[in-house]
Subunit: 344 residues, 2 copies
DNA sequence: CTGAAAGCGCTTACAG
DNA sequence: CTGAAAGCGCTTACAG
């Protein structure tokens, strides 16, 4: 090992010898399998501890035929602007995913892609690929890996083992209905320049709603990689929009810019933010939100995924998680709490 | 497999047969080892592709004797409040770590601890444990795993393979010197209720500076797990402090609370924030910062770590990364840009 | 390049 | 429980 020419690592046979039992009994004792007297078991455990024995995971995986690891593909890691914009989101997903996986005895490995060496050298028994685009290369690569795949919203493809869908389409309709109830006539959508399941649903949901209600669509695209936040916000503020569903993490900047222009956020411009439930400041800022519990969503998805991996459920599992709407000052025409606070 | 009773996965021997070469030649062709004619190599690659062959990483690791994976221990995952408070930080570290590792052919596995099954079943050739406390249980467990360990600021322990140190102590002194130059007489420190390398250095650096300059220390502790942000901020605002180094992610809330009280941030209360370089809003808010490039820090640390793992460098590597200070309105007594903007 | 073999460190089934 | 053996799927060294 790197530490130098120290003594060779102890092997299971060394533990068996130390404990005075057979190799098979040592294996059974440590893995908790078969009938082994508690006394023997303890003797083996003690011997293992004494020698500093650590089982070789690769050997275990090879001989038992099961790897207990989930790979999580974050293609956005290769697009710094996008990753940075959504990093609270990624942290929440990685955190929840790691906990969900490890609680069930699985490791959680983050991957920035599936090319070349990685494709080949990382032991995984399942791959998670979220926020996929059409004919997503990561998703295709994941299918090629020969393990079950979890993704969101690709219900058409029967190679998907678990589809954990977030219902953005209904969420958009709910937001637009709320805007209309509040008297807005030109509700708009601000979204990221990304081609993912979520953005497709957002667009579809928005355009459908507009058509059904005879409203002319107003779309504002934020190019995260090019730092296009300011530009998109300015375009919105120059437009006839009197309400906006913000589906990209720029809400605080938007509010600030609007107020700077003298607009009364919540009245002149109604704002609902989506998918930023990771930012606690939004509540303080009195922003209406469409949110969901990332921890619950991920834990449920991972739980079903592991069941599929272990053959306890058939592949092809689908779920549909609704977002929940909370109306606050930013869409209700009341004065924002934050400004009220400034005066006090 | 979970997909059902499909055909057995192709093995290397199947590829060899399909390509009409020997098992050894097939192995060499795919791994790029030894002298193999380009024609044969290609023939094997084609056969592998045709069959959908994916090498078994566990078998590779076992027979070659090398695992290419780094485990990253985030104990904070088991403390939701703490993890949430620092999640932009964690996202940046995980992102940078994943890229740094995978660029060098290593997988990056996130672990919420090292207990039980995890300790045993996750294949890693090295463990990273950052933000450790004294006699840190995760660090001790990592040593017990028998692989090289990367950590920050535990220079005393010669079991550490790579010590990637962030120089918070000098950073504190720099901040305090700046406060003093600006005329502050009661500079204070606000920090999290955590026992880590960073917090120890912060405390030591601050108390030393206070002693050297005959200043009475003023410490404000934020209990992240108990949601103690508001409390700590109120305590600060009631105190005689006229400057504060904020070493916990509550700067925006602090500024807001101070302004609400009618304080002129930057003059009545000078503010420097530390370790929130992940939040772009701080620049917009005109906050002075002590920051470092997480990506550079992590990439350098991982690069050296992998060198040690592969025996290209001896263990015991140490580095010391300085934070860089940027003075902005919040410590310079000028009017904050944000408030100026509100008027315009 | 071939071909046959050993070996990595386990798990697993089996006769006793 | 023991003991000896087979096997997981590769890599590696070796004689030809």
């Amino acid at each position: 090992m790197a530490r130098g020419e120290g003594p060779a690592k102890p092997r299971l046979r060394d533990v068996a010898r130390e404990a005075g039992v057979s190799l098979g009994a040592a294996s059974d004792s440590l893995s908790g399998k078969n009938q082994i007297s508690e006394e023997t078991r303890q003797r083996v455990r003690d011997a293992a501890k004494r020698l500093g024995y650590v089982p070789d995971p690769s050997a275990r995986a090879l001989s038992s035929g099961k790897v207990r690891a989930i790979g999580f593909v974050i293609g956005a890691l290769q697009r710094p602007g996008e990753f940075a914009a959504y990093r609270t989101h990624w942290a929440d997903i990685i955190g929840a995913g790691t906990l969900a996986a490890t609680e069930r005895g699985y490791a959680f490995t983050v991957l920035p892609g599936l090319e070349g060496e990685l494709m080949v050298n990382v032991p995984v028994s399942g791959l998670m690929v979220l926020d996929t685009g059409p004919q997503d290369p990561y998703l295709e690569a994941a299918f090629g890996r020969g393990v079950p795949v979890l993704t969101d919203g690709v219900s058409e493809d029967d190679r998907v083992a678990v589809d954990a869908h977030l219902d953005f389409r209904s969420a958009v309709a709910e937001a637009m209905d709320h805007f209309a109830e509040q008297g807005a006539t030109r509700p708009s959508l601000m979204w990221p320049k990304l081609q993912t399941v979520s953005t497709r649903e957002l667009e579809r949901g928005y355009l459908e709603w507009c058509e059904q209600h005879g409203v002319q669509p107003l779309l504002f695209i934020v190019d995260l990689e090019a730092g296009g936040t300011h530009e998109a916000i300015e375009a919105l503020l120059r437009s006839p929009a009197d309400a906006v569903l913000v589906a990209v993490p720029v809400t605080a900047a938007l509010i600030e810019a609007a107020e700077k222009r003298g607009l009364n956020v919540g009245k002149d411009l109604r704002v609902i933010t989506l998918d930023e439930n990771s930012d606690r400041r939004l509540e303080q800022l009195d922003i209406s939100t469409l949110a969901y519990s990332i921890a619950e969503y991920v834990d449920g998805a991972v739980a079903r995924f592991i069941d599929v991996i272990e053959g306890k459920r058939p592949p092809g599992q689908r779920s549909n998680v609704a977002l929940s709407f909370t109306a606050r000052g930013s869409s209700l025409g009341t004065r924002l709490r934050r400004r009220a606070g400034d005066q006090g």
